[in-house]
C-alpha cells in the first residue's frame, strides 16, 4: 500500500470553537492506482490533500506514505492546485525546473528533464513564455509537468480542472490519462464533479459533509478512454450522485443555519459573546 490513512481526524479552531473537518478517515491507495475523491464543496477534500502532502498535520491518526509517517512536505508527494500556482517571474521552462533547481540538480540535467516533461504535456513550443501569456488550460499543463519533473511517488491533484471550460477540461482528461498510462504514477485526484471522477478513476471514493468521512468506494473497470455519456458509466454516476445527494442537502442546510445564526443572533459576533449574553 503506497498511501495509508489510519483514523485521521482534523480539527480547526475558529473563533475559539473547534470545527471538525475530517473525522476518522481510513483510506488506502495502491501503487499505480488512479483514485478520485468526490464530495460537496466544503467537506474537507482539500484538507485531506494537504494532510497527505504534509502541508498540514492531522489532529489525530496517522498518515503513512510508503510505510513512513508523514511529518512535512516532501518531493515524493507533489500537489497540483486548482489555481496553477506557477511562479509569474519564471518562464514555463524555469517553472518546470523549479523543484529540480531546489534539489540542486545541475543545469544541464534540469534542461533535459524539463524538455522531456514539456513534451509530455505538449508545451515544447511555449518553453520561453511567461505564465501571464498562457491560457488556464496551458497553465495547468505546466503545473502538471512541474509536478511530474519531481518524479513523485504520488501526484496529488486538488480540483485541478475546476476552473476550466468543459472543452479544455475534456482535453486535459485525455492528456492526464495518457500521462498516467505512460508513467504509471499513482494519482489521487479530488473533485466535486462526479462525471469527471468516473471518466478518470479506477476507484471513486465519496466523502460526506462536515465532518468529512469516507462514505464508500466504487471500483470502475471500464476500459479507457471512457465517454461521459457511456450508459454503463451513467449508471455508476447515478449511484454516486445519489449517495452524494444527501450530503449536498446537508451542506445546504448547514449553510442556511450558519446564515441564520449570523443574521439573528447577537452571540455570533464578537468573541465570547455567548458567555456575556447569558
Amino acid at each position: 500500500m503506497l498511501v495509508k490513512l489510519e483514523k485521521v481526524s482534523k480539527k480547526f479552531s475558529h473563533n475559539g470553537s473547534g470545527i471538525e473537518v475530517l473525522k476518522e478517515i481510513d483510506l488506502e491507495i495502491s501503487e499505480g492506482e488512479f483514485v478520485c475523491l468526490v464530495g460537496p464543496t466544503g467537506c474537507g477534500k482539500s484538507t485531506l490533500i494537504n494532510l497527505i502532502a504534509g502541508l498540514e498535520m492531522p489532529t489525530s491518526g496517522r498518515v503513512l506514505v510508503g510505510g513512513v509517517s508523514v511529518t512535512g512536505p516532501g518531493t515524493d508527494r507533489v500537489v497540483v492546485f486548482q489555481e496553477a500556482a506557477l511562479f509569474p517571474w519564471l518562464n514555463v521552462r524555469a517553472n518546470v525546473e523549479f523543484g529540480l533547481k531546489m534539489s540542486g540538480m545541475p543545469a544541464e540535467d534540469r534542461r533535459k528533464k524539463s524538455t522531456e516533461y514539456l513534451k509530455m504535456v505538449h508545451l515544447t513550443r511555449f518553453a520561453d513564455f511567461y505564465p501571464h501569456q498562457l491560457s488556464g488550460g496551458m497553465k495547468q499543463r505546466v503545473a502538471i509537468a512541474r509536478a511530474l519533473a519531481m518524479n513523485p511517488k504520488i501526484l496529488l491533484m486538488d480540483e485541478p480542472f475546476a476552473a476550466l471550460d468543459a472543452q479544455t477540461r475534456r482535453l486535459l482528461h485525455e492528456e492526464l490519462l495518457e500521462i498516467w498510462q505512460q508513467t504509471r504514477k499513482t494519482i489521487f485526484f479530488v473533485t466535486h464533479n462526479v462525471r469527471e471522477a468516473t471518466v478518470l478513476a479506477d476507484k471513486v471514493l465519496t466523502i460526506s459533509a462536515r465532518p468529512g468521512r469516507i462514505k464508500g468506494g466504487t471500483t470502475i473497470r471500464l476500459p479507457r478512454p471512457r465517454r461521459e455519456s457511456d450508459p454503463h458509466l451513467i449508471v455508476i454516476q447515478q449511484r454516486i450522485l445519489l449517495s452524494l445527494q444527501e450530503e449536498i442537502a446537508k451542506v445546504v442546510k448547514d449553510e442556511d443555519l450558519d446564515y441564520l445564526v449570523e443574521k439573528t443572533s447577537p452571540v455570533a459576533s464578537g468573541s465570547g459573546g455567548l458567555g456575556n449574553a447569558l
Binding site: 502532502a53 504534509g54 502541508l55 512536505p73 516532501g74 518531493t75 508527494r77 507533489v78 500537489v79 492546485f81 489555481e83 500556482a85 511562479f87 509569474p88 517571474w89 523549479f98 523543484g99 533547481k101 531546489m102 534539489s103 511567461y130 505564465p131 501571464h132 512541474r146 519531481m150
Partner: protein, 243 residues
Amino acid sequence: MRKLVLWLLVLAVWETLSRVSPWIPSAVGILQRVAANLTDTEILSSLGRSLLRMAVGFLGVFVLGIGTGLLLGKFRLLDEIFGTAAMALHAMPGAAWVPLAVLLFGLTQWAVIFTVLLGATGIVMVSTSAGIKEVPPLLLRAARTMGARGAKIFWHVVVPSAVPRIVDGLRLAWAFGWRALMAGELMIGSLKGMGEILSRVAKQRDLHEILAFMIIIAVVSVVIDHLLFRRMERLVKTRWGTA
C-alpha cells in the same frame, strides 16, 4: 497625440492671456528661455552635477531601502522594533533633513546626497517589507511541496514575489529623492547644481527665468520617470499579473 493637441491648446490660451495682462508671463517667452538654457553648457554641466548626486544618492536608496526592507519583512522582531521608525522616516519631508545633513557633512556634496538618501529610503523600506509580507500563500505551499525550505524559499519565492511592490517603492523614491535633492541644493547654495541656479535666479527676481528653470527641473524628473521607472513598472505588472 491627443495629449499634444491639448497641451498646445493650453499654451495658446496662456499666451493669449499674457498678451492681454502684463501680470501673466508669456508662455512663448518661458519656452524660449527653457530652450536657451538647455543649450547653455554651463547650465548643462550644473544639471549633470545634480543628476550625478541624485544617482549616487539613489544607489544608496536602492541598496539601503531594499536591504532594510527585506530585513523588516523577514524578521518580525525587527519589524516590531523598527517598523514604526521606518514609517516615520517615510513620513518625514526630505527638506527636513538638510540642517542635520549640513551639520554632519558641512556644505558639501555629501550633505545633499545624505538628504536624498534619507528623503527617499523610507518609502522603499516600507514597500519592500510590505511586499515581503504579502507573498501569496499558495506559492509558498507549492514551493514547499517541491522541496524548497527556509532561505531557498526566501530568495526564490518571497523576494521575487515582492518585486512589484519594490518597483513601486523605487518609482516613488525617485520623485521623493528629486525633491530632497532640490531642497538640499537650494539651501546649501554654494554647490553648482540646478537648485543653486534656481536660488541665484530667484535673487534676480526674473519671473520668466525662474519659471523656465522650474520647468526644466520638473521635466527632467518626469522624463526619467517615464523612460526608466514607468517602463520597469509596466513590465513587472504585466508579468506578475498585478496590473
